[in-house]
Every structure is written in structure tokens, then in C-alpha cells.
Symmetry: C2
Subunit: 329 residues, 2 copies
């Protein structure tokens, strides 16, 4: 049993989002709280810009809830930078107990799952979970300095510049987190660090399958099954893998990475990064939940648990996916 | 309120520990499950050795509990390597849902706090929390390659080669986790990356103070207040800081980093690293709890949330400390 049912139905009270210029030209542009015109956000380094975006997302989440910093019992955050410095340095700006988490690009759903678990258990009234990423800090940490102008292979994705936060509380809205399904590490032996979609799709499939088995639900019970950042190719692979396991997600599956950029061709397989699902879920998807266009969503963020050292030492890419079920009640 | 009281008193069922040759010459030598004679643990790289130690600690924790892998509901783990690859690659070897966490050298107590919270809430029957570190992988990631033979300043500490795991469950022992106090990020402006003790001591002080305030307990209510890896200097600073705040911890405070090596002079201020408190708590301190030499312990692991990038960009060192209260009931 990998799924927890939250009997007290912790609510999503508010969200806060910010995205870069490239992202705002795409689907999230009209839904985010802040559209950056400068991808350095006025800072001197990309790392500082990433941290500032995350701090903004946390602050905006608190502001959008109509509460104050002192009302928030816990901050749960992590990011892709080494030693999750964006999260740690953001947390320094808030007088709120901080839990650092790391689950690569599934950090958003891991944070939501822990947050909902703590609120459901009565440990906290209000928790903010947040994450983000930045294209340029990710490129230079994981790949090459931008200045080299390296070519990108067709299966690659574009790390999203953006951050998103969500406040989970005991009451205050009619959108609830009803379940969390925790992922196992799944490794299909993919070693191509430019092909994250193929590496992560099996983890998403494993978690979706566990969720359906544990809850007795079927794919049709969800208006939408939204994965994190598999991209266009990874999304196709997931559809195949789930089909093989007897689940047809063709009609109600979208991937945040696939839809975030309008012109997918130019960004190859689409978006990735912890900020991808954080921004898309907390702006675009939440808007649909608020408007009742969507009433029940399974949010399945996916993470590739590699590092430059593990890849350099010849290791394959272990992946994970944590899911949370969200419902208008 | 930063403290959760666990009404159902989740128990510490078992622990599993492994330590390197240098560590085993010190205080933990006679208590760990495995004493390494080769600090590469038969692997080709230090990173792989670190991962193997962590995997060993998790396996041994499960074995020492007399249960099997399938009986464990969740694994909570993190480490100091970029993107917590030791934890992620260890988790790949187990068919157990995995929560990745990062809190630098306070990862052990963060993992115990989340684990106890989940067990207390009835989300899980048995959870393993584990972490570890390796001197040589930490040196080359955070400082310099060993081959350079750089000199060490007198205020520096020695990253512990070792790993420790703990199983938390609903029943099965009379040693319980009764409270968790979550840390806030505290930054006193220290920028010397060789002086972690001075950077982390204020975070430990802040969490100890919050714990006493929230629980209505005093320092004298504990047989021992054991911090993570402040080292000899950091421990002295903590004693001063707590004294200033009206708490006298002179008589019942020890620091895992200060005590792990017998010859502190040679290791400067003592041990550090996520493995330091993980090994000392799960072997030496747990032995004292089992023998009733200690009956109530406040375990306050401490973490410095820096990275080479943040330090390189001139940032100071934000620190955090999470505490768990452990009691023979």
C-alpha cells in the first residue's frame, strides 16, 4: 500500500507563481502571478534569480491566501541546484520552520504529499510547499555553460524558468488533496541524460498503476492525469506503457512539459525542471479547478534522480514519481 | 509552535550502522554493526562506497528489526552529495516507496521527524530513515581533491565516513520518539566554510530553545542533549549561546562531532557530515538508551545549508537544526 487517504481532506488555499519570458509566451502566460521580462529578475547571477523567483512564489502564495507569514506553520521546499540552495536561501527570508526535500522534478508533488499529510494529521494548520528551476542555472550545473553554444539533441527538453508555491490548510477552499501515492525508484537503464522523458515515463506508469490499485479507482475517474515533465516523447512512452498495463490514458492525460511551450518544435520535447510542473499546476491547472472545468485531477510529478557525477561514473538514471489526487469537494 | 507531540509514541525498533576505519578507531568502533577496514568498501569510487554504506545501513536496520523489506512502508533518506545520489541510488535497490530529503547534516533528525510523524498519524507501520557521508567524496565535492594535499585550518572538521539507519514503527520496542521540533533557517553571517561549528551553533540554540518553550520542559528534563556535528569549537559556542538565553546545558550536552574521534587534536574540531550524527546516535547513543544509562535524550542534528556555488558567490552560510525527543517509556 503506497497510498495514503487523507480523511480530513486538506485544502489547497492558494497558489503563487512566477515564470520567465519564454514560458510566459506559452500556455502559462495568462495565469501566473508574475511574468518576468528579464530572466535574471534583476539579480547578478542565474542562481540568485532562481532563489528570488522561489522567494516570490512563497510570498505570493502567502499573500494570495490573505494571511501573514506568522500564520504559516511550515515551509516545505527543494530545488535542482546542488544542496538545494534556492530553497535554503529562500527559507532564510522567512521565519517559518523549514523542511528541505529533494525529489528532482517531482519535488512539487512530494512537498504537497508531505504537507497534506502533516495538515491531515493535525500537525499544522497551514503549510506552504514550493519549488522552482531556472534554465540557465540548470544548464551550467547539469550540462554546459551557455556561452559554449552547444547543440541540443532532438530528444532534449528545456528547463523551465519559473517557480510555484501552494498553501495547504485545514480549511479555506473547496479544492482538496484527497490522496497521496508515494513513488518507488524505477530504473529502466536509460543512460542518455538528454532523454529524461524516456527515463521517467516508467516511474510515472508505476505510480499511476499503484494509485489505481490502492484506491480502487480507474483512469476514467479522473478528468485529468497530469504528469510533471515527461515532455512530448516521454508522454507518448507513458501512454504506451500504461496501455500495456491495461490502462488507457489517451483521452485524459496531459504532460506539463509537453504543453508549457506553445511551439514545441523549437523547444524539442518541451519543458522540464522542478519549476515546470510547479508553474503549470499552480497556475493553469488550478485555474481550471477553480472554474470547475476540471473536478478531479491526479497530479503525477516525475523526477530523474541523477547527478553529473553519477552519469560521469557510468550510472543509469533512477527515476521516481509521487502522485497527489486533487478534487473539488 | 514548532513542536509536534506524538501521542501514539512511535517506537525506534532497530538501527543499522557502518563506519570507516578512522571512525572505528574512535568511540563508535565497538557499537557499529560493521567496521570497514577499506574505506572504499570494495568499490571503485568514493561515491559508490558512500552509496554502498548507506545501502548496508538500510539493509542492516531491516535485518536487525527481524522483518523483511516488504514489511517496510517507506524509506526516507538524503545525503550530502549533489542531488542526493547516495540516497537515490540506494533506494533503487529497495522495493520501498522513497521520500528524498535534504537538510545537510541534520538529515538524520529531519528524516526521523517525518518518519515519526507518518507513523504517529497511522500512515505507515514501519519506516526506515537513513543517511550517511564519506570523507573523500565530501572533500572532493565541497573542498579540494585529496591528491592536492591541501592544509586544513584549525577550525575545520573531518567529514565522517559512515552511515546509519533507524526503523520507526508503531510498536516493537520501549524506546519512543515523543516530540519533533522543526528548525528555522538561521544565518549569523558566517562565511568561513571551514568553520561550520560556529555557523551551526546558533541554529541548534534556536531549536533547543523552541523545544523547551513549546514543551514546557527544561534542560534538566533531559539526561542528554546531543547535537549533530558542531565539533569541539561549535559545542563551546552552543554552550555560551544557550547560557546567554538562560539555559545551562554544560552538564548534559555532548556533540557527536566532538566525541566521535578519540584524538580530537588530530582531527581538529572533530567530525562532521550527515554520517556523523547518524552513526553516533544509531550506535553509541542507542546502546545507552537500550541499557537505560540514558532514559530521555534530545537529539538535535545540525546542518549547514551551503553549496560551493553559494559560497563562491559570496553568500554566508544559512544553517538549520531539527530536534527529536527520544525516551524510554
Amino acid at each position: 500500500m503506497r497510498t495514503i487517504e487523507f480523511k480530513n481532506k486538506p485544502r489547497i488555499i492558494s497558489t503563487g507563481t512566477v515564470a520567465g519570458p519564454k514560458e510566459c509566451a506559452g500556455i502559462v502566460g495568462e495565469y501566473v502571478d508574475k511574468r518576468l521580462t528579464d530572466d535574471k529578475f534583476g539579480e547578478s547571477t542565474y542562481e540568485k534569480a532562481e532563489c528570488k523567483m522561489l522567494t516570490y512564489a512563497i510570498s505570493k502564495t502567502i499573500e494570495n491566501a490573505g494571511v501573514e507569514e506568522k500564520d504559516v506553520d511550515m515551509l516545505i521546499s527543494g530545488d535542482l541546484l546542488n544542496q538545494i540552495i534556492s530553497a535554503s536561501f529562500s527559507a532564510r527570508d522567512f521565519d517559518i520552520p523549514f523542511l528541505g526535500v529533494y525529489s528532482a522534478c517531482s519535488t512539487m508533488s512530494e512537498g504537497m504529499a508531505i504537507g497534506a499529510g502533516f495538515v491531515n494529521a493535525g500537525y499544522a494548520d497551514k503549510i506552504v510547499s514550493a519549488t522552482g528551476s531556472h534554465f540557465s542555472s540548470a544548464e551550467r550545473q547539469y550540462r554546459y555553460p551557455l556561452e559554449l553554444g552547444n547543440t541540443r539533441p532532438p530528444q532534449s527538453q528545456w528547463t523551465v524558468t519559473g517557480a510555484g508555491g501552494v498553501m495547504i490548510g485545514r480549511e479555506g477552499s473547496d479544492i482538496a488533496i484527497t490522496h497521496a501515492t508515494f513513488g518507488r525508484v524505477v530504473d529502466f537503464g536509460i543512460t542518455d541524460v538528454n532523454n529524461m522523458g524516456a527515463a521517467m515515463a516508467p516511474a510515472a506508469c508505476d505510480t499511476i498503476r499503484a494509485h489505481m490499485k490502492d484506491t480502487g479507482r480507474s483512469v476514467a475517474d479522473y478528468d485529468l492525469i497530469v504528469t510533471g515533465d515527461l515532455g512530448a516523447l516521454g508522454s507518448r512512452i507513458l501512454k504506451d506503457l500504461t496501455w500495456e498495463k491495461g490502462m488507457d490514458i489517451q483521452k485524459n492525460h496531459v504532460d506539463c512539459g509537453e504543453i508549457i511551450y506553445k511551439v514545441v518544435e523549437k523547444e524539442f520535447q518541451g519543458g522540464s525542471g522542478a519549476g515546470c510542473s510547479a508553474v503549470v499546476f499552480n497556475s493553469y491547472i488550478m485555474d481550471k479547478l477553480k472554474k470547475r472545468t476540471l473536478k478531479r485531477v491526479l497530479f503525477v510529478a516525475t523526477g530523474a534522480l541523477l547527478s553529473t557525477v553519477s552519469s560521469g561514473q557510468g550510472e543509469s538514471i533512477p527515476c521516481i514519481s509521487h502522485a497527489v489526487a486533487i478534487e473539488v469537494i
